[in-house]
């Protein structure tokens, strides 16, 4: 179990993690979701004792990371940035880590086989592709058979086969009763992997609920309408308690109203309809909508401007 309490981290006058509190329970995959720069990696580094929080506290099974007697046996971590000496072979990298924990050599071969790096285990890690590097990182995380896994963007650089593999692996590890905490900026990836979601934006907690609930809550029903007399229909919808938004292309997007009611309004007003389509917003869209106000735009001065430049989501995905 991972617990974060009022975790806060500032870099200069920039707040990377802002008063974040959550609990990651064992026995299920918990997704840590947020746009790039939302503070996911920083939060993980704080949990792992690599960075010190300015305020707040993070514990693993009730202990601070640095007090764990054999840390790799409790926590296996894959960080977003590479943590491998480029001049060292995969095998020797794992050997050095194993020696610190007193893990036997047999286990090194096991994890190398598990991640499918057998043929390149004696080659320098500097020549590894992004995907191979990720696999080596996962092997290091699993080395001492930990009960808690903290994985930062593990699907980065993996091919489709690798993505399915890591997804299955995480779910299996969770089903064995382990705590699996995995970050991603991809909503769709998390929807199929995680049972529970912790969503952050600009360092702040946005949601902490089951994936099902999150999807239910955030994807609202919309009705797309096309008509030669669209402005009159828009007024009718608004007057009836719906919310109509007219796009520059002449499409009317109606929320807060059933498709049938829109049809009735059109009929009673004598308005011709060319299209009347009920839609459920895509998950990715919902996620973008939800985190829109909290997307980090890189340069710190850019934040000062009001963020009006975000386009209306038009079903483009990302």
């Amino acid at each position: 179990m991972i617990e974060a309490k009022n975790l806060t981290k500032r870099y200069g006058d920039k707040v990377a993690v802002d008063d974040l509190s959550f609990t990651v329970e064992p026995g299920r995959v918990t997704g840590f979701l947020g746009p790039n720069g939302a503070g996911k990696s920083t939060t993980m580094r704080l949990i792992l004792g690599l960075d010190r929080p300015n305020r707040g506290d993070a514990t693993i099974n009730g202990m601070h990371y640095r007090d764990l007697p054999r840390p790799l046996q409790t926590v296996g971590a894959l960080l977003e940035a590479r943590a491998i000496h480029t001049g060292r072979s995969a095998y020797n990298h794992l050997l050095a880590l194993a020696q610190t924990q007193g893990v036997g050599k047999k286990r090194i071969d096991e994890v190398i086989d598990l991640v499918g790096l057998h043929e390149v285990a004696r080659k320098r890690a500097g020549g590894f592709s992004l995907g191979m590097g990720q696999r080596l990182g996962i092997a290091a995380a699993l080395l001492a058979d930990p009960t808690v896994l903290i994985l930062d963007e593990p699907v980065n650089g993996l091919d489709p086969e690798g993505i399915v593999w890591i997804r299955t692996l995480m779910q299996r590890l969770a089903s064995e009763g382990r705590t699996v905490f995995v970050s991603s900026h991809l909503m769709n990836e998390m929807a199929v992997t995680a049972e529970h979601l912790i969503v952050v934006g600009r360092g702040k907690l946005i949601a902490d609920c089951s994936t099902e609930e999150f999807i239910e809550r955030s994807t609202e029903q919309i009705v797309v309408v096309r008509s030669p007399d669209i402005e009159r229909l828009a007024t009718a919808v608004d007057e009836d308690g719906g919310k109509a938004v007219l796009s520059p292309e002449g499409l009317l997007t109606v929320t807060n109203m059933e498709a049938a009611r829109v049809g009735e309004l059109a009929s009673s007003g004598g308005i011709v309809l060319h299209e009347l389509t009920p839609k459920r917003g895509s998950l990715e869209q919902a996620f973008m909508e939800l985190t829109r106000d909290s997307v980090e735009y890189g340069g710190s001065t850019a934040i000062a401007e009001p963020q009006v430049a975000v386009p209306e989501p038009q079903g483009e995905g990302r």
């Binding site: 790799l72 590479r82 943590a83 000496h85 050095a96 286990r107 086989d113």
Partner: protein
């Protein structure tokens, strides 16, 4: 990419963890990087090669050398023999010492290291111990090698034997000097955390600062020069205190040790305080 097995691994057997294991892991890190192996090899080759070259030159030019220079060699042949080897080979130790720790930062390995050993000072202590012992053993071996190459070459001009006063201490002192220099470079690498900048810093200390200090006027210059880390430190590789040396061999080594200790304190405090 090979096929991926998905079978759950059998629980690994975990043996007792302790400082010995940390040292074993640091030894694995050192020996498993090609550049460190090359640098160690370069240390041996440069040291023995230059010992042979310089003592050979000294012997062959003996009759053309002026009397005062000859007297200096005859007063302490050990210093001439060892010094000719160390002059260049010590740079490999500087580079290695910085690299052993700074390369962990430049590659990101430090994160894996600190996840495995979150008690950061234990990690750095293990690393420093393994590296210093390694350089001391290799440095002493090279020092003896250098002595036994140079001694017969100079024998007819300036005879010296291992049994002469201070000679054995000077030869072992060669290993001590290199080991302390390695530790000094390691500490600076841990503070600077950047390979190129760290190497520049150490070489600045060892090669640049000394001639610069010598330019200072009068006795201030002489004192500053004498107390610089490598200037004080290399005195341990002399069989006897030279007429112009302010410090005895052991005093010099002590000064070098104080410099190194001061840098290590800074390195340990920084390691605890800074984000990795």
């Amino acid at each position: 990419m090979t096929t991926m097995t998905d079978a759950p691994g059998t629980a690994p057997q975990i043996r007792k963890a302790g400082f010995g294991r940390l040292m074993l892991a640091e030894w694995t890190k050192i020996r498993s990087v090609r550049s460190t192996v090359w640098a160690l090899l370069l240390l041996v080759v440069l040291d023995l090669g230059f010992t042979a070259l310089f003592t050979e030159l000294t012997a062959s030019q003996w009759d053309k050398t002026d009397a005062s220079a000859r007297a200096a060699v005859m007063a302490d042949p050990t210093s001439t023999i060892l010094g000719s080897g160390f002059f260049l080979s010590q740079l490999t130790v500087c580079v290695l010492g910085v690299m052993v720790v700074a390369s962990e930062y430049s590659t990101g390995m430090i994160r894996a290291s600190l996840l495995a050993v979150p008690r950061r000072s234990s990690m750095l202590t293990a690393k420093a111990t393994v590296f210093t012992v390694l350089i001391f053993v290799l440095g002493t071996a090279v020092s003896f090698g250098s002595f036994f190459i140079g001694e017969p070459i100079l024998h007819s001009k300036a005879p010296v034997s291992l049994g002469d006063p201070g000679v054995l201490r000077a030869v072992i002192g060669g290993g001590l000097y290199l080991a302390m220099l390695g530790l000094f470079a390691l500490a600076l690498g841990a503070i600077i955390r950047h390979t190129a900048a760290g190497i520049t810093g150490v070489i600045g200390f060892v090669l640049v600062l000394a001639p610069l200090a010598a330019l200072l006027p009068g006795s201030i210059g002489k004192h500053v020069h004498a107390y610089l880390p490598s200037e004080a430190g290399h005195l341990i590789g002399q069989a006897r205190q030279g007429s112009s040396d302010l410090l005895t061999p052991w005093q010099g080594f002590g000064v070098f040790a104080i410099w190194t200790a001061a840098l290590l304190v800074v390195a340990f405090v920084q390691l605890q305080r800074r984000d990795a």
